[in-house]
């Protein structure tokens, strides 16, 4: 039997219903992440459009105040938790194993598990909309507004519990990425030869491991206070409302980098390819990525300058916040130098990446402005902040993500997207983006506070709001063009071939779409640009690295990537999916406070987990 056949037999998931629910193939799971996250982006985007319609003119009555509160909260929660981070996980799940020449993630079944829990937690969140009680306290849900006195009903319980559900998924994913990147890199891919996307994924995974428990603690406190009469944030019984803010932002600011850094990593991958040269200052870009993640732990208080704290403490956090801009500037200048000294191929992907740099600079500059305490006091909780965070999140997440789609989708689908439509999509979204959010600077300085459901005319806000609403629709149309482009490329796009961009990293050495097993021979690497050097990565005369005895991949040492051992990869399994059904039951039961049902959920999880982990004989080719 040919080698390829044996490998296919070992790694292929049967195309059956069972296979669909039980697959652990990182490419399948990566695609699901991308599709699900895009679906959440579209839902969150539609919510934004409804909000902009309400704010298009003074005293509009499209939405009631309560409906407006629910919609802006769902918009933010969806975008920040269920779109921005999972979309990057999607890219990472699909491409990290290919980038490092491994056959799958370190824990394939955990990978399936984290996808299902991501999906189910999102469905749980939107279950709140079915009963008309969505969360309405903003994405950071400040107490005391969100405790049961002021927010009766189940809305904030949905918030706390679906976030707790999601943190389990995110933690599992982070641990999986760290172990994968440290243990499964191709021989020779030392830590100094890793593609930069791996640096950013590694950094944010460490940030998740250390920072996400803060959200867990906060949500547990909130939920037991709301439902079980505890007093964490209740001043009358000695509690401290500020504790919620501390816990939320200890998590929240590292999270900003979690949804930002992998996007910069993607740009650091594709800009050099379209500039036809290696990135300028690789070590500085890598270091500044890591340092952003590190210093990101010391800036959370800048979200709370207005609550009244010691001068010294605030100065420290103000200085740390400004330090971040140095690391971002290092990256920006490295990209600009790369483009400047390169021979640019201006594809749609390149344009989106350049648009990202422009928006990041604007969002970075108005970020520095808000890190200055007196200015922050002036613009705190105004549209200036809304503008800043959207420049950073739309500019530095959505734009690089679309750039990433134009760059990597040909690898996933095997078809190129249309460049002309892509260029249109870029210019329309870029103009729409600025039309929407630039006027908000002015609105903020003029005193329009965020989260108001309407405003009176005569305050000088009318025309700017009208402009922002028009801009929002232009931006949505621009993104729609890319969505159309994607669907038409599936059937009508030019066939991509292995390496349509003549790119430098290992994923481009596989077929498009890649075979289920990745590459036939586990590659070895001798430079940062495996496909640009004159060394053949898959040269393996004795077939020593085919590893077709079972589902195997090569495990290597963490820093210098010397081959260390053979890693056995578990086969497809239905148990991660079933485990998640148990967990969904558990969280639903907690929301409706049926404790026996919750216990049933826990028991189901334990039993399914035990079966999941039970040792099984190794899969052999027939």
């Amino acid at each position: 039997m040919a080698v390829e056949e044996r490998l296919t037999q070992l790694w292929e998931t049967p195309h059956t219903l069972y296979g669909w629910f039980s697959t652990v193939d990182h490419k399948q799971i990566g695609k699901r992440y991308l599709v699900t996250a895009m679906a959440f982006l579209i839902v969150g985007g539609l919510e934004a459009l409804v909000m902009r319609l309400q704010l298009a003119r003074a005293n509009a009555t499209l939405l009631t105040p309560e409906a407006y509160n629910q919609i802006f909260t769902m918009h933010a929660v969806t975008m920040i938790f269920w779109y921005a981070s999972p979309i990057l996980s999607g890219f990472a799940v699909y491409f990290v194993p290919l980038l490092i020449g491994a056959r799958d993630m370190a824990f394939p079944r955990l990978n399936a598990f984290t996808y299902w829990s991501y999906l189910f937690s999102g469905l749980l969140l939107y279950g709140s909309a079915l009963i008309g009680q969505s969360p309405h306290g903003g994405w950071f849900a400040y107490v005391p507004f969100t405790d049961s006195t002021y927010s009766p009903g189940l809305g904030m319980d949905f918030y706390a519990l679906s976030l707790l559900f999601l943190t389990i998924s995110t933690e599992g994913g982070a641990i999986n990425f760290i172990v994968t990147i440290f243990r499964l890199r191709a021989p020779g891919m030392t830590i100094s030869k890793m593609p930069l996307f791996l640096y950013s994924t590694l950094t944010i995974s460490c940030a998740i491991v250390l920072a996400l428990p803060s959200l867990t603690v906060g949500c547990v406190f909130l939920e037991v206070q709301r439902q079980w009469g505890f007093h964490f944030f209740d001043v009358a019984h000695g509690g401290a409302p500020l504790l919620w803010q501390q816990l939320f932002w200890i998590f929240g600011h590292p999270w900003v980098y979690v949804i930002f850094l992998p996007a910069t990593g993607m740009v650091s991958m594709l800009l050099p390819v379209f500039s036809r040269r290696p990135i300028v200052g690789y070590p500085y870009v890598a270091l500044s990525t890591v340092l952003t993640g590190l210093v990101g732990f010391g800036v959370w208080v800048h979200h709370m300058f207005a609550v009244g704290m010691s001068q010294m403490g605030m100065s420290f956090f103000s200085a740390a916040s400004m330090t971040i801009s140095i690391f971002s500037a290092v990256q920006v200048f490295a990209w600009l130098a790369t483009v400047w000294t390169g021979r640019v191929v201006p594809t749609a992907s390149f344009k989106f990446a350049m648009g990202f740099i422009a928006l990041l600079v604007i969002g970075g500059l108005n970020g520095i402005v808000t890190a200055v305490i007196p200015v922050d006091w002036q613009v705190h909780d105004t549209y200036f902040v809304v503008s800043h965070l959207h420049y950073v999140l739309v500019g530095a997440n959505v734009f690089p993500v679309i750039a990433g789609f134009y760059y990597w989708l040909p690898k996933i689908t095997g078809r190129l997207m249309d460049e002309r439509l892509g260029t249109w999509s870029f210019w329309v979204s870029f103009i729409g983006m600025n039309l929407t959010f630039f006027p908000m600077h002015v609105l903020g300085i003029e005193g329009m506070t965020r989260r108001i459901y309407t405003f009176s005319s005569g305050l000088g806000w009318d025309s700017m709001n009208e402009l922002a609403t028009i801009g929002a629709f232009v931006l949505a149309f621009g993104i729609l063009l890319s969505v159309i482009n994607f669907f038409s490329s599936l059937t009508g796009g030019r066939v991509a071939g292995k390496n349509p961009w003549n790119a430098d990293t290992l994923e481009w050495s596989t077929e498009s779409p890649p075979a289920v097993y990745g590459s036939v021979h586990i590659p070895t690497v001798v430079s940062r640009h495996p496909l640009w050097d004159n060394y053949e990565e898959e040269k393996d005369p004795n077939d020593a690295r085919v590893l077709d005895q079972s589902r195997l991949t090569l495990s290597s040492t963490p820093l210098d990537a010397k081959p260390a051992a053979l890693a056995y990869m578990p086969a497809d399994s239905l148990w991660p999916f079933l485990f998640n059904l148990g967990m969904t039951l558990f969280f639903v039961a907690l929301i409706i406070k049926w404790l026996w049902l919750a216990l049933a959920g826990v028991i189901a999880m334990l039993v399914f987990n035990a079966v999941w982990l039970w040792p099984r004989p190794m899969k052999r080719p027939a």
Partner: protein
Amino acid sequence: MAQTDEEARMSTIALDRLPPEVASHPPLVTTLDERRGTAGMWLFILTEAALFILLFFSYFYLAQGGWRWLGEEPPKLRLAIPMLVVLWISSAVLHWGERQVKAARYSRARTGLGLTILLGVIFLVMQAFEYMDHLKTLTPRTNVYGSIFYTITTFHAAHLILGLLMLCYALALPQYEPVNHPPHRPYHNTALYWHFVDFVWFWIIIFLYIGPNIR
């Protein structure tokens, strides 16, 4: 994108000297990887440690930075310290058991697991008595001190129960060296988690029990 040959050549980086260990295609390694699970467990412990650090942070934040809570009676040490001793003994027994696995004395290793589980259950029973006593004067709904005290100790108990279930699972595993699973690993990974849970109780004793008793 049209790619000319010239462009393709432009982007080739010539390599003169290859690192020897890569160039010579090392003979294929034959050992099975046994580190991934342990690495995953360490990271899991790290994130759990962050969780408890944040719980302790919340404790001191709510206590306004002090060791003592104004107007609160400090918790009694009568049961808490013996509970610490029980956990320490359990960790020692488990460590002894792990050494038995490595020496391929499996029935002794199983005995070690069984004893550890027994000690863990004894701990939980003692905690039940401790709660029954403590709840007479303080409940989670009394005030914020009760809320944080019971939250931290219950979090610990939940982790201990999880650890116990993992130990039971390791005890039920068919053999300690199944063909597909590298030797000792389930035992070792479970033991790591158990030691971590014991270690957390040590800090609970320091922060929640001894701290408020210092005058």
